[in-house]
Symmetry: C2
Subunit: 156 residues, 2 copies
Amino acid sequence: MKLAYLAKIPQAQAALRATGERVTEPRVAVLATLLSSDHAMSHLDVAAMVAKHHTIDRVTVYRVLDWLVGVSIAHRIAGDDRVWRFMLNPQASAQGAGKKTAHHAPSHAHAHFTCNTCGQTFCLDKVQPKMNVKLPTGFRTTEVDLKIRGLCAECK
Amino acid sequence: MKLAYLAKIPQAQAALRATGERVTEPRVAVLATLLSSDHAMSHLDVAAMVAKHHTIDRVTVYRVLDWLVGVSIAHRIAGDDRVWRFMLNPQASAQGAGKKTAHHAPSHAHAHFTCNTCGQTFCLDKVQPKMNVKLPTGFRTTEVDLKIRGLCAECK
DNA sequence: AACCTTTTTGCGACTCAATTGCATCTACGA
DNA sequence: TCGTAGATGCAATTGAGTCGCAAAAAGGTT
């Protein structure tokens, strides 16, 4: 699954072109890396993967990841180890995602699963939080994040 | 509400004694601080508050906070700014919480609200996530965290 | 195809929360 | 009161992430 990296490059280029922003080598490399992964990746994961095919500065990887979040191609997940992990947005691989507007549609909601043993984080597109939240009066919701911890299928 | 610190000291001492572990000045001070707050506090928040009445090393505050989490008196919340915030567990103030066993009762669930403007994080004891989660087969849940972002009553 | 302007990139230095190692001190049971 | 497991203080370290700035593209224009 990891070795699909090269095959994802054209798809990455197309998605980047669709944003109307500049298509650069670091952006293609980072996006292709995310496209080739089925779980959320830390900056370090991405940088290590990218380093197999390119020579790209750490800082650039940070900046590209942030940029991908900014143009709604990816989103970031706060881990329990104080490390951000990144994952593509559901439709990002298919269509070219939206423009830089981003910043969440009304009540953008996500669910993630993190395995306590192997530490991998997966995105649960299926699960719609949809909880019966009764916030104190005066509170308004803009975003909901559901994080589930436990054991994944492989570690169980 | 902040000034209730001194009044919380006896309660803090009692809760600590109930754990069977050592009752030390730093532990009392940190716990009394958490008892006097209605929202989650970062290490820095706690250290600053504690410093008004004691001279306690930063590292000790870190260690006491971790310890409080370990004995199930408090829990930690990962913030979007890579800073841990700490808050008492629901019943911790009343009874003496459990022994060091901890590590979550079956499917321990929490909900937190973080204000995008003032940055304060509150614990929503009322909200029970209770979502219709359909995990992929083989996955097992041990813990659920719901994080809601938005505007609190004061910032709206 | 060479040119120009705007963005990106690379590099070094830096920030800052959190951790570690170790010597010293102390809570509390004997 | 004493002895010791456990807690604390201090200094140094880690490591993710950020900043400033000069050099290097990207992509539109001529």
